[in-house]
Structures are given as structure tokens and as C-alpha cells.
Amino acid sequence: MTVEEEIVEITLRSLAVSGLATLLAAAAGIPLGLFLGLARSRGRDMLTGVFRGLMSMPTVALGLVLYVIFSRSGPLGVFRLLYTPLALVIGQALLVFPIGVSITAETCTALSSRVRELALTLGADERGATAAVVRESLGGIMLAVSASFSRAVSELGVALMVGGNLEGITRVLTTSIALETTRGEVVLGLALTVVLLSIMVVFNVVLRSAEQRIRWWLWQ
């Protein structure tokens, strides 16, 4: 396999693993974030605070906890997940889940009372008002997806601890950059870094464009 082919393979793996992790985290985190943003209970602030705190969880700490859980003697050892792409997906999904919840909840909370009251006074019923708040939270939801993917694709700790950087199996862009740099292949490391940054930029441009289309569609 040529170096170019190897870079393409690693890049595609990174995209697949982090994309799937973001998708899983968003599927659970965004509804939970909307629920917390719309809820008017006392426990909401506390829960939102917890998720905000978890946003900055060190990746190696999460990687270590998952390593213990996935290892043969761990509670999920029977599934033999350690050093598999699935372990990577689960680890990254757990890492970015609080980001999706937090950003969505914060956006929704900030908009909730004003947009809800506007919709109600213009004649919407309670369900219509809630739909209006969710629709207005779209920017925050897309930001949550963007931040989640960026964090997942650029993290190193979980990928190293539960992925193991196995060539052709769990090697992703960040673990490759770390490996090539320690090998003295700084130029290759830099090339991979450019690829990583390009992915993040392109992903966010595409997401921004998608947001505008979704917004247009929601108002049709």
C-alpha cells in the first residue's frame, strides 16, 4: 500500500468512526438537550450544569475508564470490544454526547421564553409554540453537531486507549499524526494534520449550507 493510499484509508476511517459517533451522540443528545431547554423544572439547571461540566472531560480519562470496562476482565470484556472500531465509535460518542446536550439545551433555554410567548400571542397553541422554539433552536442544534464532530475527529486519548492505533483496523488521523511524529516523520505528520484540518473546515461549510436549506424547508 502506498503512502497516499494509506492516508486515504486512514482519512476514510476517521470520517466513518467520528461521523458515526457524532450521529449516535446527536440522536440521543439533541432530543435530551431540547427537553432540558424546554423543561421548566427545578432540576433542569443542575442537569444542564452537569452536562456542561462533562463537555470538558479529558479524553485520556474517558479512554482509561473505557479501557477498564472493555478489557477482558472488565464488565463488558465478554464482548471483546477493546481495540475495535466499534470501541472507538462508542468512546467518541460518549465523549461528545455532553456537547450535543449542553449546546442544544443552552440555545433552547435562551430562546424558549421569548419565542414561545411570541408564538402564543400570535395565535399558536402550546404544541405550535414548542415547535416554534425547536425550529428557532436550529442554529444551536447545528452548532452542537459541528462542535461534536470537531471534538470527535480531533481527539487522541480515547482513540489511543481503546483503539490501540492498530494499522488497518483502528488507526485514525490523530493516532497516525502522533505515531509519525514520534517516528521522526514530521512532514508526513504535518500532511496528516492538513488533512484533519481540511476535514473540519469542509464539514462545517457543508453543515452551514445544510442549515440554511433546512431552515428554508422548515418555513415552507
Partner: protein, 371 residues
Amino acid sequence: MAVIQLRSVTVHFGPTRALSDVDLEVRRGELLSVLGPNGSGKTTLLRVVAGLLQPSDGTVLLDGTPVSRDTLHGLRQRVTMVFQRPVVFGTTVFNNVAYGLRRRGLSESEVAVQVEEALRLVGLDSLSTRHARSLSGGEQKRLSLAMALVTQPELLLLDEPTAYLDAEGADMVWRLVESLRGTGTGIVVATHDLLGMTPLSDRAVFLRAGHVVSTREAHGHVMDGLAAIDVVAPERNVYHGHARLLPGSSTGPYRALVQIAPSVTIEALAHHGGEVRVSVPPEDIALSVTPVISSARNSLHGRVVGVERHGDLAVVSVDVGVVFNTLVTAESLARLDIREGTAVYVTFKASSVRVYSAGAGTGGGDMHDQS
């Protein structure tokens, strides 16, 4: 006949009591002014009337029937509120105005016609395809008005309707309000800017610290902001007086001496002499215990006759021959050791004095203070 009635309505926000035992009725087709300083409960009152806030205590009646959870949506379909701070949806101007019509199930062709008409009324017809959030604050305020007007509410609630607007925008709002008179649409205008309020009210209600402290009725006549201001005259330092223009500049406004009591004459800027009404905003008056050397043209010596604390602020009443109310921070109050009986100076600029023709606003006919 009353559309909405509030009976003994009280609203708590945690330990804070925003409205206390308020009784009020809003009649069909009338223009009711709700006046009062910031924080007096005007917005809370409007939100209760709009069905956006449930009272902690008391009853809201719609056409004489208590509003329940089941009838709340019906109330909101008939009453529309325009918020002080404009709130718009993140879409085009057109979609924003169309929102209320679509909720009412109108066809898209009807929606298009009515949206166009509403935008024309507020002068935004050329901006219908623009993103609403790209508009200026004043334009968003106009848009908010169009969003409400297009729903043709039975009762339109305007919270500080001229906030964020320039003079031209404010004129447009008052013209719109005037144009709705006689159409059967009831209008409630809440404002703290009493002198900036120009629509002719049928009634005025004054709120202070969540209480309705005074209600004034024009009894078949109408009254403007200046007539309504009599309700709160002592708080806003409003006095009748006689103005004498001083020789000097050839174009107005002219320096003028206004005698507001036998022993009290203040300097102001006026366009004409004769009988006038003057107002000195309490927040524009500086209080000191020694004479102040400054550019301010008015410095009057008197004695403190009252101190009323409101959180971090205090209203200090000073008798200089007439009583001036001044607004100072609690910190200044403590630093200057001001208490009842303290000899003080009240100082304000001639340009802080607002001068109005004494005739303006007195056409309210037979008005009765019901406080």
C-alpha cells in the same frame, strides 16, 4: 363593555411581588394607557392580560367568564401583544408576518395579500424578502407591530411601543394607533415615557410597585400624554408656571425664566413665553449638601422632606418652595448623610427642563382621579 377583567390579580416572581391585588378592566374598543416608572409592573400586567402569564392569585375574566386552561388559547387568539424588545423569527420578513395568519388557517393567497398590506402600513413593504434578523432594531420593532396588526386582534397590547424607534418611527406608531381608533380594536399602551406619549387615551392607569395607584377617566373625551401625566405629576416634577423669554439668540429655543412658585424661578429653554407646564425628570437632578460650581443654570437651596428607598435607589423629596423629587443611589444617600431635615441643593441644567404649552393636554374635559 369589558373584554377582559382582572380581579384581585397578584403575581409573584419568587419572593418578588410584581403585581399586587390589581383590579382592572379593559373595555371594547378603548385606548387605555398604562403608565408608571420602570419596574412598576406594566409588562407583567400586559402579559397577564395577554394570557401569557398565569396570576399567582386572582382571576382573569374574558367576556365575564373566568379564563381557564381550556379557554386560554381562545383568549390568545383575540389578544395580541407587541413586546418592548422586538422578537422576530429567524426567517424572512414575509414569513414573520404570515405566521399569525397561517396559525389561523388562511389560504396562502389571502396570507400574501394581508401580509403585503400590513408591511405597507409599517413602511416595510420593500423588505419582505429580507431576513428578519438582518433588520435594524427600529425595523424589527415595526415588523413586530405588523406581525400583531395583521392578526386583527380584538385587543392590541403595546409594551413601550416607541422603544428602539426614532422620532419618525414613533410618529408612525402613534399614527397607526390613532388609525385603529373607532375600528373596534381595543388598545392598551404601556409606557414609562409619559411626555413622549401622544395618543389620545380614553383612560389612564398609573402603576407603582405593582399597585394601581390611580385611574383617570376622560368620560367621553380623550386625553393626551400631558393630561395623563397629571396622574403622576408629583413624581415627575411637573409644575404650572409663567415663562418669560430672555433677550439673546434670534432662533429658538430661547433661554427663559419660568416662575413655578412665588419664590421659585427656574431657567429653561423654551420656544414661547406665557403660561406653560414644565417637567424636570428626577433622574436629571443632582443633589448636594454644599453649593455646586458648574455649568448647570439651576441650583436651588431647600430642605429634605422625604426619603423613599427603592432597592439601590432612593427618591429624595426636597422643598425649595415647591417640592422637587430627585433620584439618587442609596450609596450617595449614605455618603452625603442625607435624611429628613438635611439642608441640600438641587441642581439641574436648563436643558433638562421640558417646557410644554399649558393648554396642551387639558382638553380632557371632566377627569376624575379615582385613586
